[in-house]
């Protein structure tokens, strides 16, 4: 087998994209209207995520009720068939706990929690397939599901991963690329330049940070538009149904 080239001299990546191209982004909302208050399905390339939101509802235990604001609980389950190699993942794994805490804390800020005191918003995420950008896809799916549930938010939280190969930033890494090069995941609120979420796990030179963030922010704005289109499309469908009755 020939040696894999992350980024060829001609400027093409493993899957034929250029450095600044996103993967196919497809989303649906209200996929499970009967079993949840809000639901969504997101595909970013081959990463597939389902998200369901219950609530705002009365928490089952007293300790979860906060008299000033809503509590957000995220349950992240990664299917054992989601990767090439079948593997059972436990929820108590440190990495999972960290992701869960990161998601909870991010959405606590972007959801208008103070409007729903003493309630619980339960977010259940299932990862069906993983091919890079796990945290990014999960965040996008949660945003859409929260919108579907009609929970007040300041704006969309759109999230993307970016890597750095030599001096070139590569946008929206797939699984193979993610294994080889360091990845930064950022989440942006709406069309601002404010970072709600930030996670970098491997080394990158300090001087390249600016160029990476630049492309990443442009990408999150694009994703926000794509999600917004989907939400509006769904809204129109619903409105037309209402008009018929």
């Amino acid at each position: 087998m020939s040696r894999m080239e992350i980024y060829s001299p001609e400027g093409l990546r493993l899957d034929g994209r250029r450095w600044n191209e996103l993967r196919r982004f497809e989303s649906k909302i209200n996929t499970h209207p009967n079993s949840s208050d809000g639901s969504s399905y997101v595909e970013q390339g081959n990463t597939k995520v389902i998200c369901m939101v219950q609530g705002p509802m009365e928490p089952s235990s007293r300790s979860q009720a906060d008299s000033t604001k809503a509590t957000i609980e995220v349950n992240l389950s990664v299917a054992s068939f989601s990767t090439f190699e079948r593997k059972k993942r436990s929820k108590s794994e440190k990495r999972m706990v960290e992701l869960k805490a990161t998601l909870e804390r991010t959405f606590e800020q972007s959801v208008m929690c103070h409007l729903y005191p003493r309630t619980l918003i339960q977010v259940d995420v299932t990862v069906l397939a993983q091919d890079g950008g796990l945290l990014a896809s999960v965040t996008n799916a949660i945003t859409l599901a929260l919108i579907d549930a009609g929970i007040a938010m300041y704006d969309y939280v759109s999230c993307i991963s970016v890597g750095l190969y030599d001096q070139t930033p590569l946008l929206d890494l797939n699984g193979l690329e993610e294994k080889d090069i360091s990845t930064l995941t950022i989440g942006v609120i709406g069309k601002t330049e404010k970072l709600a979420l930030l996670m970098l796990e491997d080394k990158i030179p300090l001087d390249n940070l600016e160029s990476i963030l630049g492309i990443a922010i442009a990408a999150t704005h694009r994703l926000r538009d794509l999600m917004d289109d989907e939400v509006r499309k769904h809204g129109n469908v619903r409105a037309s149904k209402l008009a018929k009755n």
Partner: protein, 310 residues
């Protein structure tokens, strides 16, 4: 859940008002670190340190033993960091139960040091596939006065630099080994490839209107403090942890929730951090050098050197 420590509204308002006027209640500048004090490097054993940083106190012990390597990585030694936070440090931490906060602290220290390969694992290999050194760092937090991550990371790196493992000879053509007692032969230091330094910036929203801040309509109202203490930690609206090394590499960045941070501020903070990273890296190096020097003179090791005039 452990009882949360509550701060009165009065205290909080006072604190925020002070920040607005450019004053931290502990008298430091916004980007001023406390300096580590009472640093104790053990003379009798290698790899035990204690240090105080403000009122935060930690102890850190490095231990080593020989074991079989993992099958998929026969050339690499094993390295673990074990983080203990219990209610001895502060009553907000509960015994025996890992809260999210505690997991985040230990994950970030682990990411900064272990994932970034700051310890050369291949140098820990003795006989490939058979025997490697296993290094474990036990980090104990003895008192809490804010900023566990930065101090923990600093402590672990100091302890690793201080640690020495017994010298080894391989005999019988690579079948057996002799472990030399540390009194018999001078033990070997670990090979440390770079020294990661964590810096935590806490931020505070001073404006009344959260919405404006989140939507990015007002920028001036956010205040960033380096190396927060106990009270500042309880009042923070969010934090960002930047790990850097002297080679101007970002090793780890994480922001877990909290109010959003502007990109330009992030860039400014990271560029400013380089100064502190250099200071702290040099501090570790000088501490170790002085300690070595002191040991050298006290034990009269000069007599043992090859060229010594006996």
């Amino acid at each position: 859940m452990s009882r949360k420590i509550e701060i009165t509204t009065n205290e909080k308002t006072y604190f925020i008002e002070a920040l607005k006027n450019g004053i931290r209640l502990n008298g430091r500048q916004f980007n001023e670190m406390r300096t580590p004090s009472n640093i104790f490097l053990s003379k009798d054993e290698y790899g035990y340190i204690e240090l105080e940083w403000g009122l935060t106190k930690i102890s850190c012990r490095v231990s080593s033993f020989i074991r079989k390597p993992f099958e998929d990585r026969p050339f690499e030694g094993i390295f673990n960091i074990n983080c203990e936070i219990n209610s001895m440090a502060s009553k907000q931490f509960e015994n025996g139960k890992n809260s999210d906060e505690e997991v985040l602290i230990s994950r970030i220290i682990e990411k900064s040091i272990r994932r970034s390969n700051s310890l050369d694992l291949e140098s820990l290999c003795i006989i490939s596939g058979e025997k490697v050194w296993s290094i474990t760092v036990d980090l104990n937090f003895l008192n809490f006065d804010g900023n566990f991550i930065d101090i923990g990371c600093f402590g672990v790196m100091l302890a690793l630099s201080h640690f020495k493992k017994p010298d080894i000879t391989i005999i019988n053509g690579g079948k057996d080994i002799i472990i030399h007692d540390i009194n018999e032969r001078e033990p070997q230091p670990l090979s440390i490839l770079h020294i990661p330094i964590c810096l935590t910036y806490s931020f505070y929203n001073t404006s009344q209107n959260v919405e404006e801040n989140i939507k990015g309509e007002s920028d001036e109202d956010a205040i960033y403090l380096l190396d927060c203490d106990y009270k500042e930690d309880l009042l923070k609206d969010g934090s960002i942890i930047i790990t850097l090394n002297k080679n101007r590499e970002i090793i780890q960045l994480s922001k877990n929730g909290g109010i959003p941070i502007d990109v330009n501020i992030l860039l400014d903070l990271s560029l400013n951090s380089i100064k502190f990273v250099n200071e702290l890296t040099d501090l570790i190096k000088t501490l170790i050098k002085d300690h070595e020097q002191q040991r050298f003179t006290e034990l009269n090791l000069k007599l043992l050197q090859v060229g010594a005039d006996r």
